[in-house]
């Protein structure tokens, strides 16, 4: 392939796009719509996931201590807790604090505590977990060791509604992945089809080019360039639209809905780049396959 041809190819690709702007506009529109759907889905999913992770971390643990525990033992327990991956001591609750809290929690029934002569509640550490691998943490060796440390009366997870919540999270994620996977497949299929359709309307052109002695590559390259340009445009336009929609949602609208969404973030840059690459590949590979089908002669 002579390098002298490249200016011709580029000129031809642009010329073709202008001359077939109707078909190109339709194809581009479809591409942008498809990628936009996928992008919007990704955006929402990424944010949803972040929020869910935030809640997931709400999982906490209470380490109850024996009444007669020494300060040294207590410090040892504290350092053991710190050794559990992802765990962080939120606070220490003394026996007195515990009673006070129970009184608050009981509310109208707190009167029943008035009759107590001694404080039967144990002191405790309240522990929260940072990392997303809570499940791993819970079965870790450090955790097992902690339970057997002298001075530790019991380790209890604040699981009141945690399990239900866990199930919901898993479901939302599963739903997300199913929709996402389907969407991805669908978008690939739709864009490839659209490019095929667009090239279909130009099969005479391919035939004539072959008849004047053009090599396969000579015919293909301008189509591939067109696909490439369309891919870049499609990716850029859909990301731009998505970003504008994001700005609109993230600033004004969310407040109006009186909705507790604090930090609604845009797609991380890896996702943006991946989307661009996918759209460029779609344009390129789509036209490559589509053109190839018309090379019978």
């Amino acid at each position: 392939m002579s390098p002298r041809l490249w200016p011709y190819f580029l000129k031809q690709a642009i010329w073709n796009m202008i001359k077939n702007r109707g078909v190109h506009a339709l194809g581009l529109g479809t591409m942008v719509a498809s990628l936009l759907i996928f992008g919007a889905f990704l955006l929402l999913f990424v944010n949803l996931d972040t929020w869910l992770r935030g809640w997931e971390h709400a999982l906490s643990m209470t380490v109850y201590l024996d009444d007669g525990i020494s300060n040294a033992q207590r410090n040892k327990v504290a350092s053991m807790i710190k050794r559990i991956p992802g765990a962080r001591i939120k606070r220490f609750i003394s026996k007195a604090d515990a009673l006070e809290e129970l009184r608050d929690a009981l509310g109208p029934q707190s009167g029943l505590l008035d009759g107590l002569s001694t404080n039967p509640l144990p002191a405790s550490f309240e522990v929260v977990f940072k990392g997303p691998e809570v499940a791993k943490t819970l079965s870790s060796q450090a955790m097992e060791k902690l339970k057997k440390t002298p001075g530790v009366e019991e380790v209890q997870f604040t699981r009141e509604w945690q399990q239900r919540f866990d199930a919901l999270m898993r479901m939302v994620r599963l739903v997300g992945f199913i929709i996402g996977g389907l969407l991805c497949l669908g978008v690939l299929f739709i864009v490839a089809n659209t490019i095929k359709l667009a090239i279909y309307s130009r099969k005479d052109e391919i035939e004539i080019l072959k008849l004047v002695g053009a090599t396969d590559w000579f015919v293909k390259v301008p189509f591939l360039l067109e696909g490439l340009i369309q891919g870049i445009l499609g990716g850029a336009l859909s990301l731009l639209t998505l970003f504008l929609a994001y700005l609109l949602l993230a600033t004004k609208k969310m407040q109006l809905l009186s909705f507790p969404i604090l930090n609604f973030t845009f797609l991380p840059s890896e996702y943006v780049i991946a989307l661009l690459i996918v759209s460029v590949l779609l344009g390129l590979v789509g036209s490559f396959i589509a053109v190839g089908r018309f090379f019978e002669l």
Partner: protein
């Protein structure tokens, strides 16, 4: 040199060419004639490699077309000019682009392409129309674009299928003068036609086809 040995070509049950043997020497000028549906277009398309024979062999300058690779066929086509009966112009490119296309595919230098294209358009009398699109041209103008595209690359072989069907007698004469001058430079020329006017004016070798068979030669 074009050689056809026992060429046979059918489309389904329809036999378009039947046991054709033909030899066109280098630099020869041959007319192929015969009634509508005789097989003239099919014959030219076979020589061009746009169609494959069902039987027999075609040699172009000693190269057997049925043994040739796709890439080599593309290269061979660059040396053959073909005036298609239905023109086969690209409707979304200008006249100039349609003609220059035949040189673009060879990767020639830009300035050379421009010069040759202008020359060819001048020869067929279409310089003013170079910016027009095929659908903005009259039938005869389109035919002349097709002729310009076939001759722009100084082909070794020129195959012209009914090249003057849409041209008036004056232009027909001009085009025949053009073909003859190309022939004089050494190009092998094969013209398929049923125009009596074209045939009458010359003492050229003429092959008569009928129902897929060669039925005579003059």
């Amino acid at each position: 040199m074009i050689q056809l040995f026992h060429i046979y070509k059918n489309f389904g049950a329809n036999i378009a060419l039947n046991d054709i043997n033909l030899r066109v020497h280098e630099g020869e000028f041959v007319f192929v004639t015969g009634p509508s549906g005789a097989g003239k277009t099919t014959l030219l398309r076979l020589i061009f490699g746009a169609e494959r024979p069902a039987g027999g062999h075609i040699l172009i300058n000693g190269i057997n077309l049925s043994r040739i690779s796709r890439t080599r066929l593309d290269l061979l086509r660059r040396k053959i000019g073909f005036v298609f009966q239905d023109f086969k112009l690209l409707t979304n490119r200008t006249v100039f682009q349609n003609v220059s296309l035949a040189l673009e595919v060879t990767g020639e230098r830009r300035s050379f392409i421009r010069k040759k294209t202008r020359q060819a358009l001048k020869l067929v009398g279409l310089v003013e129309k170079e910016k027009a699109f095929p659908l903005q041209l009259s039938g005869g103008e389109q035919q002349r674009v097709a002729i310009a595209r076939a001759i722009v690359k100084d082909p070794l072989i020129l195959l012209a299928d009914e090249p003057t069907g849409n041209l008036d007698p004056e232009l027909t004469k001009d085009i025949m003068v053009l073909f003859r001058s190309i022939h004089m430079k050494g190009t092998t020329v094969v013209v398929a036609t049923h125009s009596r006017e074209l045939l009458a004016g010359t003492a050229q070798r003429t092959v008569f086809l009928n129902r897929g068979r060669i039925v005579g030669e003059e």
